[in-house]
Amino acid sequence: MKRSVAVILFAVFAVCMIVVVLHLYPVGDPRLPGYADFIPAEIPSEEIPRRADSVATYYNRNSARDVGGTCVIASVILDYRGYDTLYEATVLFTAVIACLALIGKDHHHE
């Protein structure tokens, strides 16, 4: 009984979110805010906000010149946003230290 009520509740929740999602642009639509730079000729240009100077367009066009790697994502996470990845490694390090502090074993007395 309780479980069926929960299932119905979350199904309603999923339907509500699907209704919201159906109002977005389709996947790969150039009008999406996450879209990078390519604008096909069939879409009138006034529908598309100015994306030619977005940071994704800059990364796509200039990462080979700025960084030298051909993988744009590696260039972004390791060079343009290098501080982010450095502190991300620090976060991982801190998490391991926290795990060892919680459940770790003392290996110094062996």
Partner: protein, 126 residues
């Protein structure tokens, strides 16, 4: 509907994960639900930066992204947005950290209380 299939899959995954996170009493199952929610967020982010060839024009569908990176760099070919992918790479590592710490807390809880049931743990004292 078909054109937004990635979003719908992300929403369904999110609902499954939220169901597991809220309804299931077992702490390990709650963690699994949390991971499913994270996976759905990754799917949504990457789909929002994706390029789907051929939605609008046939000429666009005929172009090949990977075989000619020079044209892509010059802006003549579509390339995906690199920023959601980079953010998802960061988010995966953070999710691994959260999962590791939560699992170690669950191990300590089990060792202290002798059960993984969240209701029993809430009803017990000390």
């Amino acid at each position: 509907m078909i054109a937004r299939f990635d979003y719908i899959a992300a929403v369904i995954l999110f609902s499954i994960g939220l169901y597991a996170l809220v309804v299931k009493p077992n702490l390990i199952k709650k963690l699994i639900g949390l991971n499913i929610i994270e996976t759905s967020v990754y799917l949504f982010l990457i789909a929002s930066g994706d390029v789907r060839l051929g939605i609008y024009t046939n000429q666009w569908a005929a172009s090949n992204v990977i075989d000619n990176p020079q044209r892509a760099v010059q802006g003549l070919e579509p390339m995906i947005n690199p920023i959601p992918s980079a953010l998802v790479l960061t988010a995966i590592v953070v999710s691994v950290c959260v999962t590791a710490i939560a699992l170690s807390v669950v191990v300590k809880l089990y060792q202290h209380y002798g059960t993984l049931d969240a209701r029993e743990i809430a009803s017990l004292k000390g």
